[in-house]
């Protein structure tokens, strides 16, 4: 029998705020999360045009600390974390011995001996267990501290302008993929310039008991700048337009970083062995089994996760994520397709030959470069 406790989704430190805002709440990876506050299209557009405020407290925070923390992460992950400077962050992955992706991660180096590993909510327990096992015998302590952190993101072209008056930190000095301790609205946070929307923006790791006041301060500071609260529905279309992979869609245990076009995160040049090295080295040498492609639909019917991609009417791949793009106004999708088809279609030969089986009818599509959207420089 299932533990009745586990059937109840966990609340974040901001759940009461979302309820007061009238959000539609949904169970996401065991957490009660805001799906949308009103119109997800309006939320999406606000992030592209001004700014959006997100509760991401469901994300897992795992700390790795100690004299050999860097060595432990070098062995446990595919990235070169000992080369990461304190105050910087890196996008990386944790793989199984066979090279399959267990999760994609952002790792922040807080000091020479302290790292913060941010995992997807659905994978936090798996990542924690794998890190514990892989750090075994080393001078490094691994702890799941998810419950000790609220995570608030402010994303969009106005994010820096809204945040600046609330903090003494010089935001110009906080580069993309950097994270440093700072005070925001009088609260101590880890302030990071990271995100999952394709826009400039910040993520604030805060104490749970200060999350509501921080949210309120950001809301007030952004009230004249178009800031709106934004839910997971907008977050998904934002990341899809930005061509960013989502674990469970583009990434999973049967996918290697190379399949996903993210082989660059695997650092074979780092010192020592790491979990998955030999399998991944083989994958790096071999011809790709599939290619992650961007598709733009030519009709209004929307390719969705799991739909078959067709080439001359024959199945050549599977859609991993699809949605109507609010920014582009057409359906967009990411899909794993036959690399041969990707090459042919890329040569401009795809017109009329590429399609997606959208519930029984072949809807024409074309191959387009990823990302679908890139923010104006």
């Amino acid at each position: 029998m299932t533990d009745p406790e586990s059937a109840q989704p966990r609340h974040t430190p901001l759940t009461a705020v979302h309820e007061r805002l009238g959000a539609t709440l949904t169970d996401f990876a065991g957490w009660l999360m805001p799906l949308r506050y009103g119109s997800e299209l309006a939320e999406h557009r606000a992030v592209r045009a001004s700014a959006g405020l997100f509760d991401l407290s469901h994300m897992g925070e795992i700390t790795v600390t100690g004299p050999d923390a860097a060595g432990a992460l070098d062995y446990a992950l595919v990235g070169d974390l000992s080369a990461l400077a304190p105050g910087r962050a890196r996008y990386t992955m944790i793989c199984a011995p066979d090279g399959g992706v267990l999760d994609d991660l952002i790792v922040y180096r807080l000091s020479g001996t302290e790292f913060l590993v941010v995992a997807n909510a659905a994978n936090t327990a798996v990542v924690h267990a794998a890190l514990l096992e892989r750090a075994g015998g080393r001078a490094a302590r691994v702890a799941d501290e998810t419950a000790d952190y609220a995570l608030i993101a402010i994303q969009g072209p106005h994010a820096a302008g809204i945040l600046a008056p609330l903090t003494s930190a010089g935001l110009d000095g906080v580069r993309y993929y950097a994270g440093q301790p700072a005070e925001v609205a009088g609260r101590a946070v880890l302030l990071a310039r990271t995100g999952y929307t394709g826009e400039d923006g910040f993520e604030l790791f805060a104490r749970p008991d200060e999350a509501e006041r921080l949210w309120a301060a950001l809301t007030e500071a952004g009230s004249g700048a178009g800031l709106v609260p934004a839910g997971l529905a907008a977050r998904d279309t934002l990341r899809l337009e930005a061509g960013m992979p989502l674990y469970g869609n583009e990434l999973g245990p049967d996918v290697t970083p190379f399949d996903a076009g993210l082989g660059r995160v695997v650092k074979f040049g780092k010192p020592g062995d790491f979990v998955g090295r030999s399998a991944l080295a083989e994958r790096a040498r071999a011809a790709p089994r599939r290619a992650l492609a961007g598709l733009a639909g030519q009709s209004r019917r929307v390719p969705r996760h799991g739909h078959q991609v067709l080439w001359d009417g024959r199945a050549c791949g599977t859609v991993t994520s699809g949605a109507p793009s609010p920014t582009l106004g057409v359906p967009i999708a990411m899909a794993y397709i036959d690399p041969e088809v990707a090459r042919e279609a890329d040569g401009g030969d795809g017109q009329g030959r590429l399609a997606v089986d959208v519930r029984g009818s072949a809807e024409p599509a074309i191959l387009v470069p990823l990302p679908f959207y890139r923010r104006p420089a």
Binding site: L35, S39, E40, L41, T237, R301, V302, P324, P326
Partner: protein, 130 residues
């Protein structure tokens, strides 16, 4: 959530307004809320014969797609052309400007088929999910 009086409802979250022998069909406020922002509605063309309980179109939103079931037997006489340009009407005014299509009831009928829900029954059906 609103459930206006004077309309009939289905368990598939359509509403029906009967005027003589012509039924106007749309989706309910509950349905549009559950779907999120509607981006496209495919509807049966005028002249199409539809059958009660059978899918005859679909509503696409950013997150999902769901079938529209015809609540009645008959022939489609008109579709709401405004929806094509502005699918958001389904969200903004599901019982008014967001209506979907009209059906002339088959066999000269001037009553809705049995089994349609009253406003009170439909409100009861959807209350737990609010």
């Amino acid at each position: 959530m609103t459930v206006p009086p004077g309309l009939s409802y289905t368990a598939e979250h359509e509403w029906v307004a009967l005027d003589g022998a012509t039924a106007t069909v749309g989706i309910t406020d509950h349905a549009q809320r559950a779907l999120g922002d509607v981006v496209y509605v495919s509807m049966p063309a005028a002249g199409t014969t539809v059958t009660a309980g059978e899918p005859c179109g679909e509503v696409e939103s950013t997150k999902s797609v769901s079938d529209i079931y015809s609540p009645v037997d008959g022939e489609v006489t008109e579709i709401n052309a405004e929806i094509d340009d502005d699918p958001g009407l389904v969200n903004a005014d599901p019982y008014g400007a967001g209506w979907l299509f009209r059906v002339r009831l088959a066999d000269g009928a001037d009553q809705l088929p049995p089994g349609m829900l009253t406003p009170a029954e439909y409100a009861e059906l959807t209350k737990d999910t609010e």
